[in-house]
Structures are given as C-alpha cells and as structure tokens.
C-alpha cells in the first residue's frame, strides 16, 4: 500500500459515498416514494472502488442488477443517479431505466443489467473494441457468484480467451444468488476462479472486504492485461449486508449473521482501522470525509425529490420508431 494521502482520502470517500447512498436508499424505500426493484450493494464497496480506481473513462465496465456501487465508482454523477432511482426525467437515464439499468457511456459505464449473465458478453465486445483501438484500454465484466452459472458467462470467457480480448472478469462472490447459497449452486465447491482458469485464463483471488487487497490485486491484473496478455479473471470474496432486493425478509440467513458480518467483514471499518493504525490518516481526516459525504447525499435526495417528473409524452422519446 503505497498510496498517497490524497489517493487514500479519495478511495475512502468513494467507498463512503456508495455506503451512504445505499443506507439512505434503504431508509427512503420504506417511505414508498421509490418505485420498482432496488438491489443494494452495501458491503461490497471495496471491490467496486478498488477496481475502478485504476480505470479512466476510456476503460469500460459492465455491471449487474446490483449496480449502484459500480456506477458511482466509475464516475456516474451522484445527483443524476439519485434522480434516476427516483424516476425523474432529470435522471441519468431520464427515468426510463431506474435502479437496475443505470448507464453512462461517456464515463465508460456500459450499463447495469437486469439480466443475470447479460453483461459478460458485452464486456468481451467492448474489450475487442479496445484491442482494435490499440491504446492499452481494458473492459471489465462484473459478475456475481450466481451469474457465473449462466452459459453467457461461460461463452464470454471462452471467446475472450480465443480472441485474446483485454477483458477482465471480476467475480464478486458474496455467497448468495438471491436466496440460494454458493455452496449449493456452484459445482466447483464454491470456487469460481478455477472455472475461469479452466477456460485458459490467468486468475487471481483476493479478500474483497480488504480495499488494499483488491487494489493491489487489480494493479497486477491490469498490468498483465494491459500488456497484451489477453483476458484474466479475479474472484473477490465479499459480503452483502442487505437482502437480495429491498423487501427481502432474508429467512435464508443464519441468526445474527448480518450483525456478525457488519462487525467483522465491513470494508469501510477495515479501511479505517488499517490507515489509522499505520498512521497514514487520522480519525479526524476520515470524520471530515464522512461529514462531507453525508451532506452530498442529503443534497442529492433533496434534488431528486424536487426534480421534474416525466410526462406521458416522454414514453415515446428515444425509441427508434414509434407506433
């Protein structure tokens, strides 16, 4: 961990933004103001941030139904995202997409995705484009442990190997796909990286709740892929603190499971502990970031509430042919 003070503060801020964005959504959803399905990323922040910190806007990512963290880490506008989730016409996708379909192509964010396994093949295509452009750019496919059971993911991995596409498959293993455990659904004894390995890729594994482990691993992976060695895969062991979707009663969890995870596997507390113990930052530095983030979230919610609503005419906008 040789990050500058600015880089450390930046990474912490980014993780905190995701955390508070989601904690706030969790509260706001109970008021009934937010429509549709919302899947919270809370607990996995170190992965999104540890990966995206290394990317610029011309590197691409594809995301999942649990996309808020990836979007924010890749630079999507906080207010625009909040407005989108609120269904405003001022939202990043004009209220058409909602939580599950946020995208911002200008930021290299090629979309969250409501279809499990929908993203990986798109990432291969973006990686092939990067290869054509020849500028050392990469594309990243974020997938869950559940998504790794989709044929689309298998096909994407094989095609990436065959075409030597600069694609990185980032598997976030949070041990659950909806209400099913990874031990049941993943045949290779819960190891996903070994599948990628079998397709002929170099793979890495790391603790996804440790920002520094994610960050350092990704630096290696990216050096390898940017150097023209073809695709790679990395599996991060991580946790999700909320239900599969907002409203999930989580009867599949063990007693006290979430409290235990929050106490021992929280990437933000771990970050705080490690940077203060190493005297890289002190508590006051981090508290100042916390306060600033809380204000930014508050402002985003206020703006989303006040933002313009779509009208019936907007239904026909942005479709190629309207009947």
């Amino acid at each position: 961990m040789q990050l500058s003070r600015e880089a450390l503060l930046g990474a912490y801020r980014q993780m905190k933004v995701i955390r508070e964005f989601e904690e706030r959504l969790h509260t706001e959803i109970q008021t009934g103001e937010i429509a549709g399905f919302t899947h919270l990323y809370c607990g996995q922040e170190a992965v999104a941030v540890g990966v995206c910190e290394h990317l610029d806007t011309s590197d691409k990512i594809v995301s999942t139904h649990r996309g808020h963290g990836h979007c924010l880490a890749k630079g999507c506008d906080l207010d625009g995202m909040m407005k989108e989730i609120w269904g405003s016409r001022e939202g990043l996708c004009k209220g058409k997409g909602g939580s599950m379909h946020i995208a911002d192509v200008d930021q290299g964010m090629l979309g969250a995705n409501g279809i499990v396994g929908g993203g990986a093949p798109i990432a291969v295509g973006a990686a092939l484009a990067a290869k054509l452009d020849g500028a050392g750019k990469v594309s990243i496919a974020f997938s869950g442990d559940g998504a790794c059971n989709q044929g689309t993911t298998f096909e994407a991995m094989n095609m990436a190997v065959v075409t030597q596409a600069p694609c990185i498959f980032v598997f976030e293993n949070n041990h659950y796909s909806e209400h099913t455990g990874v031990d049941y659904a993943v045949g290779t004894q819960k190891d996903i990286a070994s599948r990628a390995e079998a397709f002929g890729m170099k793979v890495w594994r790391a603790d996804g709740t440790d920002f520094f482990a994610v960050h350092d691993t990704m630096r290696e992976v990216l050096d390898y892929v940017r150097a023209g060695n073809g695709p790679a895969a990395v599996e991060f062991d991580t946790e999700r603190f909320f239900g599969h979707f907002e409203g999930d009663p989580q009867r599949y969890r063990g007693p006290g499971e979430i409290d235990r995870l929050r106490a021992t596997r929280d990437c933000l507390s771990k970050f705080r502990d490690s940077v203060t113990a190493a005297k890289l930052l002190d508590g006051a530095d981090l508290d100042a970031v916390d306060a600033e983030v809380m204000n930014a979230i508050e402002a985003a919610v206020t703006a989303a509430r006040a933002a313009e609503r779509p009208t019936a005419d907007d239904v026909l906008a942005d479709v190629y042919i309207a009947y």
């Binding site: 429509a35 549709g36 399905f37 269904g87 405003s88 016409r89 996708c93 209220g95 058409k96 997409g97 909602g98 599950m100 379909h101 995705n113 409501g114 279809i115 499990v116 396994g117 559940g146 998504a147 059971n149 989709q150 044929g151 689309t152 659950y176 796909s177 909806e178 209400h179 099913t180 455990g181 990874v182 031990d183 049941y184 659904a185 993943v186 989580q250 009867r251 599949y252 969890r253 063990g254 007693p255 499971e257 609503r309 779509p310 009208t311 019936a312 907007d314 239904v315 026909l316 479709v319 042919i321 309207a322 009947y323």
Partner: protein, 337 residues
Amino acid sequence: MAKMMYRDAVVTTIAEEMERDANVVVLGEDVVGGMGTAGGPEAIGGIWSTSTGLFGKFGKDRVIDTPISESAIVGAANGLALAGKRPVAELMFADFIGVSLDQLWNQMGKFRYMFGGKTKCPAVIRMAYGAGYNAAAQHSQAVHQILTGMPGLKVVMPSTPADVKGLLRQAIRDDDPVIFLEHKALYGMTGEVPDDPDFTIPFGHARLARAGEDVTIVSSGLLLGFCEQAADRLAADGIGCDVIDLRTASPLDEEAILDSVEVTGRLVVVDEAPPRCGLAADICSLVANKAFASLKAPPQAVTPPHTPVPFARELESAYLPSVDKIEAAVRKLMAWR
C-alpha cells in the same frame, strides 16, 4: 367451491398433480429457496410463493432447485419430457426467456413435428409476466406475442384463480409443450375455485366474462379486469359489451370471437404486448378476413406503444392500456358514422 388466491391456485394445482402422477417434477431457480444457506431449504419457497411446501412434500428429486441457468432449465425440461417425465419448470420472470430461447424455439416446439409425430414433449414452462410493478424494461414484458408466434407451443394466460386451476391442470396433463403465463399483478387476486380434483379447462375455449350486444372486447390476463370495468361503465350508458377472455393465445378460440362480432359488428382487442405483429393485430386480421360483412366500424387495438417498458410510475401508467383508453375505444366505435 373454495376461495383462493391466484398464486395459491398455482401451488395447490401443482401439488395435486404431483400427488396424482409420480412423473410430475418441478424445477427452477429458488423454487425451493434457501438451498445451501443457514436458513436451509424452503426458507423461501419460490420468489412468487408458487412452490412453497412442495420440497417438503415431494423431496429433492422431484423438486429441483437449479442454478441461474435458464437455457439449462428449459433444456432439462425438454430432456425430462422426452424421457417420459412431466416437468413443470419455472422461469422467475418471463423476460428471461431470452436466455433460453433456443430450447423454446428450436427444440421444445419442434420435436413432435420433426420426429414425425412419434414423440411427445409434455413440458410446462411457467413464467411471471407483465407490467405494473415499475420493474422497468427487463422485468415487465408481456412475452406471449413472441411465444404464440412459434409453431408447436401452446400459450396459456389465465386471468382468474379458477382459470389457473383448470388451465394449469390441463397444461400438466397435456402431452405437448405448454407455456403458462402468470401475470405478476394477479398473484394476489382472490376468487372462487372448483374443488373437483379433475377440474380442467380445455385449451382454445374462451370465456364470456360480460355479455352485451354492441361491442366485442377481446382480452386476457391483467387487462381482462380493466375491460370488465370499462364494460360496467359503458353499461351504465346503455352500451352493451361482450367481454371475451381468451384464456389461451394458442390455440385461439376463433369461433367465440367471430360469433360475437357477427352480433355486435364492432371489435376492440386489448392486449399488453407491443402493437406490431402481435395478438391484437392477429385478431383484427382474423375478423377482417372472416367477419368483414358484419363489421360496422374498423376493428380497434388497444395496446401499449411500440416501446420498451419504461421505469418511472408516470411513464409506466402512461404505457399500459387503461380502463379509460378501453372505454374511449368502445365509444369511438359507437360513434362511427
């Protein structure tokens, strides 16, 4: 007769058929729920609660919780069916057919024909479809348009708990592949359901939900209820509507539609799929071809616009056909000439 919810009609029918016939098996994502977790099997029992309790009663060989692999789910249903079982597979959301399309389109619907009539494929693929939940473009679609267009598939769309019972039992006992479409917004609907354990509704037999002499309204699924409400409003003004619940998009009860239009001379088709190349266009063309002489006005289609399903509340309600839009279409026909 017992009162029950649409979703309970699904699960009780499956349970009764599993009891009756050991060849009936269930498979799909989270149909057990909780597999491989601390909460254990049946912590959930299906995300729509349409498989709750089946695992406890019938065990893991007949209630198979699958990974997220739609292509393998539908493909396995095909294989089970070709090998003599009667699979009832669940795709959580109808939108996910995209992942399994080959198994639906090139396999399941074609075996009987390609194999010279010597094969049967008694598989049921159940799926929750439709808008109304602000679930946006990839979780809200009405997919019957695509599936009805595939020769070899039967497509069922119940709009009441009783119809779920009769049509699902028929589907499970049917020797051909059946797509069974459950509207998500109807799962909580309650209604009377016949107790007879052999109560079935044959496919291709529409139900007359309202009777009237002036206009024929044809629909199914969630929108059928909207049509009934529109018909009630119109009746107050002395306009009588035949409201026909198709029940099955394939086979199509042409006779029920044509007989009604011959009396009313006016047709409104109300459908949740996009307007082009769909059920509404199909039925309008049927009537134009076979009942042209009876028509007093051009057939009308009330459908969403030709767009993906939008997310925001205001947008989704503008997208879906409404009682007002159905009423307006009927009044437009009444005012013709």
